[in-house]
Amino acid sequence: MIVRRRRTVLLITIVLVVLVPACDWMPGRPTPAERWKPKSEIKDFNQLYAQNCSGCHGANGGQGAAQPLNDPVYLALVSDEKLRQTTAHGVPSSLMPAYAESAGGTLTSAQIDVLVAGMRSRWARPNEFNNVGLPPYSIEDAIAKGSGPGNPDRGATVYKTYCAQCHGEEGRGGEKAGSIVDPNFLALVSDQSLRTTVITGRPDMKKPDWRSNLDGQAMTPQQISDVVAWLASLRPGTEAKTPPEVKTARR
């Protein structure tokens, strides 16, 4: 009995020993992917994104607390240069941190390029926007393209038309969405972020983009600038009706 058992053990051992050299696929074999690298040498988009961005922008570029980066509308709207610049230097006095080593962050400029290129190649769908008249990304672009700076008074009206159905008559929150005039909220977001939100909406939260707030009636670039100016004017420490091109310090 014991002899037979010992033979089985022996047999298994021999089989294993013979198999060992044959298996390059053995699970324990270290793969180059597992190889330790200094953080500055990580060049894989997924890894970079997962380590640095998913905490706020969501696991796959969406469904995070901050605005989704996997939104094709957003990616059609924004330039690579702007993506790179925001990632490198963050958005001052907002919660978006700076990542460039030169700005106290942890990423090399090569890594930031990987992130920008990766977001583009993975999530952008430029062909879908060939015939779409996209509003200008920033207020500067808008002014350069000939629509005037935003006007808070007109913005209040725009708000009533396009936004009140969800955010409530005064902006203090309604059935479908929360308050956007809360002074603490406004103190924490940049004008550009408000503008981006108005244009792209939040597809991950059923918030419509600039075309679909109202059935069949897209917002014009002027209306977008106006409603953002109105929101900005409600920010504490900013005097009401300050035209947005006069950049005053926030708070």
Partner: protein, 483 residues
Amino acid sequence: MLRKIALWIDERLHVSKIYASTAGHSVPASAESWFYVFGSGTLLCFIIQIVTGICLAFVYVPSANEAYTSLEYLNYQQPLGWFIRAMHDWGSNFMVGIMILHMTQVFLFGAYKYPRELTWISGVVLLICTLGMAFTGQIMRFDQDAYWGLGIGAAMMGRVPLIGPNIVHLMLGGPIIAGETLSRFFTLHVFIIPGLIIAVVSMHLRLVLMKGINEYPEPGKPVNKLTYEKGYEELLKKEGVPFVPNAIRKDLIFSGLVMLGILFCATFFGPSGPEGTPDPTQIRTVPRPDFFFLWIFSVLALLPEYLETFLILTAPIVGIALLFALPFLSGTGEKSYHRRPVAFLSVVVIYLVVGILTYLGTYSPWSPQMDAWSGDQMPVKYIQGRTPLELEGALVFQNKQCRNCHSLGGLGGQRGPALDRVATIMTSDQLVRQVLQGGGNMPAFGKNLSPPEVAALAAFMRTLRAPTESPVRNSTEPAQPGR
């Protein structure tokens, strides 16, 4: 003719005599037990370590610049180099593990008692040597973990009064961890300690032969110095069996299993490390020592400051002294653990304590998780249906690195409590106070948060609860209208 040659050789070399006195020596039939296999198992591991170690030494370069590269070469270029590394790595784990089992068995079965005191003492020397091998082996990787291990070791030694700095200098081969350190530890790891182990193992085995294998202890048969040796001889005469082939059978089966275990682990889990070239600026990593030192790592992390120096200096000395003194403290009397409740309980307690500390060490909840704030996603259920202010609060939570210490949805650091249900236990005011003033092991964030950030944070944390639960309120606060 053949017989003549054999006889000639035997006459010159005494082969048959040596055989008779070693393999053929008789042992108590009761020693043919599964409990008696750990010693030979440890020896097998040691032999594996020697063989794989020699293989590694063909490639390994013990210089600060090349140690790391040569390990990478073994891992990725040398055919099966990684496998040898894995065998050596797992072999050391198995060796320490089985050695501890062996020691526990010897302790519980009272085998250290008269007349086998020296066998136990040589065993304690082997324990220290083996742990020394494990520690110096970890240094051979010369990666971040090695640096860290050395750093801790040096810090401990540095606390020795008066001669501390000299010990550190001696240990590191200079004032700092450098190439000389590696040479020093290499010499220890491949010459001095293995040589010592071989010598002491020989003595250990010789003693086992001379004083015989401990009979399976029976309750109610205490050891008496006057009668023991005689009784043992009679026992052998009455029911002695030759070591080979009777008693060795289970040893061989167990050794085979150990071999399989090491092969299995090496195949499936592979080698560990090397874990990155040492770089003092890489503070974001949390290095960990190898498995069997994890519990020490935990002790060091959990110890209150004022006890540290005292315990670090005295505990190892007291512990080792106790081990050495054991056979003199209780050299006679009952052997069976059935009659030695204190001995039995101390084993249980030590196993539990070390086990728990090791478990804690594997995920070191006391160290913040440095990447959580930017990497760990917010659970979608804490995002959906939240107001813009609450969303900003979630962003403050990430941005201010609360996540590094507090997990949400199971992700994040564990230095502080998980906050998934914090709304059900803390009111807004309490939340704000906790954040601004800190408390316990939490830093005060007062000056690092602007009032809007605090407001957003509190609004966000008030949503952290299951949908069916309601948040606690200040008595003055009206119930929140549902959205």
